[in-house]
């Protein structure tokens, strides 16, 4: 074990960790927003909207994240959409997480007792109001645990952004390895950094779960 190298790498990797944190934070916020919008779409009264959401989710689930990252980074510029690496990374992770979170939202909304919807209909509430004001507030607590799993996947998936040279934790590590040829120490360190990040996320989720009211 090369402790000098480890000591020297820790601050360098911390910069990478910070970059990962920035990318993931943005992708988590945007991914939840996209997932919520798609989740509403999956509950829509209009068949074409449901069909579109279905097709989108199928595509996201049916293709590897790495390929989706390449598609965003290499294919989108061809049709005139240009990103820097950071935004390409955020976009790819958001599009991916949005698809999975959509399913989580839909499942949560549909798990609420049908009597709640019927009661809301009986006082004349519109479909949109029912989803927003009756189903959604009750679904949150059931959505949170699977949502946490998905967000953990997102953080882990961000490691693949190193493939398009996004400067993040894994990529930062690879640069050190390329210079000093000591993969074991550096990958171990990277693993610990991811572990700390994901533990913090899991702790936050458990905290929220305790705070959310139970019905």
């Amino acid at each position: 074990m090369d402790w000098t190298l480890i000591g020297m790498s820790m601050p360098l990797l911390a910069v990478g960790l910070l970059a990962t944190l920035r990318i993931c934070a943005a992708a988590i916020v945007l991914g939840i927003a996209l997932g919520a919008v798609l989740g509403f779409g999956a509950m829509s009264r209009h068949a074409p909207v449901r069909f579109f959401v279905r097709a989108y989710v199928d595509f996201i689930r049916g293709t590897p994240l790495l390929i989706q990252i390449f598609l965003v980074y290499f294919a989108l510029p061809v049709i005139g959409v240009n990103f820097n690496e950071y935004w390409a990374g955020v976009t790819a992770l958001t599009l991916n997480a949005g698809g999975f979170i959509c399913e989580i939202m839909r499942g949560g909304l549909q798990s609420i007792d049908a009597g709640q919807t019927e009661a809301a209909k009986s006082i004349g509430m519109r479909h949109r109001q029912i989803v927003l004001h009756v189903l959604f507030p009750q679904a949150w607590r059931r959505i949170l645990p699977p949502l946490t799993n998905e967000l953990i996947s997102l953080v882990k998936g961000s490691a693949m952004l190193s493939a398009i040279s996004v400067y993040e934790l894994t990529h930062a590590g690879q640069e050190i390895i390329a210079t000093y040829f000591s993969p074991f120490e550096i990958f171990l360190l990277i693993a610990l950094y991811y572990y700390a990040l994901i533990s913090a996320l899991a702790w936050l989720s458990r905290y929220l779960e305790r705070r959310l009211p139970q019905y």
């Binding site: 009597g115 009661a119 006082i123 004349g124 519109r126 004001h133 507030p137 019905y215």
Partner: protein, 264 residues
């Protein structure tokens, strides 16, 4: 007055508020409602009785389109309600507007689990009728007062007894100021000692001449409160009459058998 043509709609009796004509409903191949016709007058309390599976609940649910009928018509105060399966559908906002003219009280209360009693009641006036938050709360407070629950306004449904929950549900329906109240076995899910507080509230409403259609197994309630008792069996209305007539001298064999079963 000119004689009406035989095909013309029957002359509208102004005292009739809710008019159901040959309502038909199937689940798959099974006929649940077989051309049911019934007129309810303004201020009338009609009680629907009959064996389970006779179509009482489905009939009630068809009236405010929680189930879509397959045929027949429903008119409330002259307005045709909803559209049947296979007909061009009325728009969602139209149906929502029509639904709020009915109040519906469910067997299992169906209070919004995440809202306090008063928020359950003020939700409709605020979000549907567009009252300000304060005005909606005031109206909700008055409705809770009417069902003797003012003291429990801030409790969640899970903190209330079944009887209290059902009274909140009645208040929620009342706060929308509906023209008709539909009750679907409102006391069937309650412990016996909680039935009375709910029936008492319904009795008050009947005395206040609220128009009500009540599906229930509480025969003493039917006997004492109903202006009219409707006996259903096998998706048909077998017999309609005053409580005295239905319970004292039923005309139909099926009605007699059902009432004898209850006494046994």
């Amino acid at each position: 007055m000119p004689l009406s043509h035989p095909d013309a709609p029957a002359a509208v009796d102004p005292s009739v508020l809710l008019s159901v004509d040959r309502l038909h409903k199937k689940f798959g191949d099974k006929t649940i409602l077989d051309a049911i016709s019934l007129d309810i007058r303004r201020g009338e309390t009609a009680v629907l009785i009959g064996p389970s599976g006779s179509g009482k609940t489905t009939f009630l649910r068809c009236l405010n389109f929680l189930e879509i009928p397959d045929g027949g018509t429903i008119h409330l105060g002259g307005e045709r309600i909803g559209s049947n399966a296979g007909e061009p559908a009325v728009s969602e906002p139209t149906l929502a507007r029509q639904r709020r003219r009915f109040g519906f009280v469910f067997q299992r209360f169906n209070l919004f689990a995440h809202l306090s009693a008063i928020d359950n009641v003020s939700c409709g006036p605020h979000r549907v009728l567009g009252l300000s938050r304060d005005a909606a709360r005031q109206r909700a407070a008055a409705a809770l007062e009417q069902v003797h629950l003012a003291a429990h306004a801030d409790k969640r449904p899970s903190q209330l007894s079944g009887g209290q929950q059902q009274r909140v549900a009645i208040a929620r329906a009342l706060a929308m100021q509906p023209e008709v109240l539909l009750f679907d076995e409102p006391t069937s899910a309650l412990d016996p000692e909680l039935v009375r507080e709910v029936l008492d509230v319904m009795r008050d409403l009947a005395s206040a001449r609220m128009t009500m259609l009540v599906v229930t197994h509480e025969m003493s309630f039917a006997r004492q409160v109903a202006h009219r008792v409707v006996f259903m069996d096998g998706g048909n209305i077998v017999e309609t009459g005053s409580p005295d007539q239905i319970f004292g001298a039923p005309r139909e064999q099926r009605t007699r058998r059902f009432l004898q079963h209850l006494q046994a």
